[in-house]
Amino acid sequence: MSQTIKIISYKSGNIASVKNAFARLGVVVETAATPEEVSGADKIIFPGVGHARPAMENLASSGLAEAIKSFPRPVLGICLGMQLMASLSEEGRTPGLGFFSERIVRFQHDLKIPHMGWNDVYNIRGPLFKGIPEGSFFYFVHSYYMPTSNEAIALCNYHTPFSAAAASSNYFGVQFHPEKSGDAGATLLQNFIDL
């Protein structure tokens, strides 16, 4: 099956790791920096690191936000990418793309922040987690999180339970970094390729 997977290239994305992870699966991921480049893809990966507000402003001014909103095929948001798919982020009171109904909130202050390292996920479901055992470990680095909801397709605990992954129509989001999560992460990316 020949398909074009593109990764959105903007200031707040670390795209080298994601490209490498797909390359290990034999898939060359192209970069998309303009709305036109986004619309021509079969699937989109939406990465993100850093602060929500500058990232969202950047997406809005470049027209990429609208391009993602009107994209009818599978989109995978990673880390901040997932958070920007929510209705609102508490980080800088940033309105998101609105694909997920939950609001993004910050971990409590008595915890070590960021939540950084390998943590296990549970209550997993759906095609993205096909072949991945319950309790598998993924690599997380984040200070804000999406609360649990009926859109969650995987949960994780860091003092409080939160959504490790969520899905709504053609939009998928993972809070962890599948590109840095060893074999389990590679399986998840392969599942995205196979969607």
């Binding site: 670390n14 080298a16 790791s17 490498n20 992870a21 390359a23 290990r24 690191v49 850093g50 602060h51 202050h109 008595d110 915890l111 070590k112 922040i113 960021p114 939540h115 950084m116 390292g117 390998w118 943590n119 296990d120 470990f137 690599y139 997380f140 680095v141 984040h142 605990n157 860091y158 970094h177 590109e179 840095k180 999560s181 060893g182 074999d183 992460g185 590679a186």
Partner: protein, 250 residues
């Protein structure tokens, strides 16, 4: 549950992994990409690559190593050694590094921590603190442990945290190379002083030492080089021991 991390460290010189036998006496320890892949396969949670080359030529060789490691391994890795500005960090991240560590350059220019954190996010800014027990205090040493700075290690850790560090890599120069265990007191003091993850380094000699630094000093991760390179103990053995004693590991 969030697990404790075990992080092997590779010292890279002119594109090869080296290990110190005694001060200044370096032995070739193999191809860094092969070693990184092997550690990744054998349960390492992250990797640290430290560039100990001083020449420009060596620096460009190191960039190639970073790129090759990034292509080969599917776990996070931190890159350190001689990083002093945003441009270098941008280059390293573009080559596939996940985090960078700054050490002496942050002591000389603390604002660097904030600039890097603002530009790239605090998740990728590791501040490496080298500490040495000196006149009844743990003092920060710079320039690869050769210069006493007069700064308290705990105070410096707090400052780094406030300036935007995402993680602290605390190396005890007093314990480093002894294989007699991590310096638990200073590790605990730093862990208590900051609310970001702390990686303990220096002194690992056996699995019990890892257990001690996690349970007594509350470190979030532990880094070691020699014992893993020499095959004195494997990461799998350390993890099995930790698991047996109730420490969450992957």
């Amino acid at each position: 549950m969030l697990t404790k991390r075990i992080i092997p460290c590779l010292d890279i010189k002119n594109g090869r992994t080296v290990k110190g036998v005694s001060f200044g006496n370096l032995q070739d320890a193999g191809d860094p990409v092969e070693l990184a892949a092997a550690y990744s396969k054998n349960g390492a949670d992250e990797l640290t690559l430290l560039d100990i080359t001083a020449t420009l030529e060596g620096r460009s060789t190191f960039l190639q190593v970073v790129e090759d490691v990034a292509a080969a391994v599917s776990i996070p890795f931190t890159v350190g050694g001689g990083i002093s500005n945003e441009q270098q960090v941008e280059t390293l991240l573009a080559r596939g590094a996940d985090k960078v560590s700054v050490n002496t350059s942050a002591v000389l220019d603390p604002g660097l921590i904030t600039r890097l954190s603002d530009a790239f996010g605090n998740q990728c800014v590791v501040v490496a603190i080298d500490a040495r027990y000196h006149e009844n205090e743990w003092e920060v040493v710079s320039h690869a442990g050769t210069k006493f700075t007069g700064i308290s290690a705990v105070e410096w850790a707090k400052i780094c945290y406030e300036l935007g560090a995402g993680e602290i890599l605390l190396t005890s120069f007093t314990a480093d190379g002894t294989r007699e265990g991590f310096s638990l007191d200073i590790t605990k003091d730093v862990c208590d002083a900051v609310s970001i993850p702390v990686i303990a380094s220096g002194g690992a000699g056996n699995p019990q030492h890892f257990l001690d630094v996690f349970t007594q000093a509350n470190a979030d991760a532990a880094l070691a080089a020699g014992i893993f390179h020499y095959g004195l103990v494997s990461i799998a053995e350390v993890k099995a021991f930790l698991k047996e004693h109730g420490v969450p590991v992957r």
